[in-house]
């Protein structure tokens, strides 16, 4: 039961699209990640996913629209909704989603990250 300082934790890593686990509650994980560039289109069939921007700007593309999240803004992507995160410049985000969530959804490729580390 230790406190987590978001900026201190973010300073501990620099690679992109590689979330770290910063906390767990009620079967959900609190993850920190740095994103830059375009991710892949994917969805999570059983899991809602929260994106909170801590630093920078994140574009979330949906099939019918695009939402730009700035610092201190969040959006919850409901389960089943296809989305593609795009970061034109580096962005730091906090993600909240079930422990079972895989970053690429049903798709498994070289960008899939499983067995995430705690930070």
């Amino acid at each position: 039961m230790n406190k987590v300082n978001l900026k201190e934790k973010l300073a501990l890593f620099s690679d992109h699209w590689h979330p770290r686990i910063a906390g767990e509650l009620n079967g959900q994980q609190v993850k920190l990640a740095k994103l830059q560039g375009e991710f892949i289109w994917h969805s999570h069939e059983e899991e809602d996913e929260m994106f909170l921007v801590l630093d920078g700007e994140l574009t979330l593309e949906f099939r019918d629209r695009t939402v730009v999240l700035k610092e201190n803004e969040f959006l919850i992507v409901p389960r089943g909704v296809e989305h593609r995160p795009v970061a034109h410049n580096e962005v730091s985000v906090m993600l909240i989603e079930p422990a079972s969530t895989v970053n690429t959804g049903k798709i498994k490729n070289e960008r899939t990250r499983q067995g995430l580390d705690y930070i």
Copy 2:
């Protein structure tokens, strides 16, 4: 599926110890609250509770120690652990906890808030 700007939402209310619901995911609610003064000792038997400080400083008292959370710091209080939030000055927080969580835990008194509004 709209984005939420935390500062804009916080500007919409000023009363203390009265959380508003800003989002829901996987049975959890994302709540925003302003706190000032001392709350009561309580625990949540079945729910872990996350406190993220957005502005100001929050003291979380436990029976065996005290933790001070500053802006951009969070702590997850595990289920069953007695705690007492204290805000010497006004603090704005984001809470994440199951939709079933009552702010005063098992205790029901004049500080109990149920049937929270969305903001």
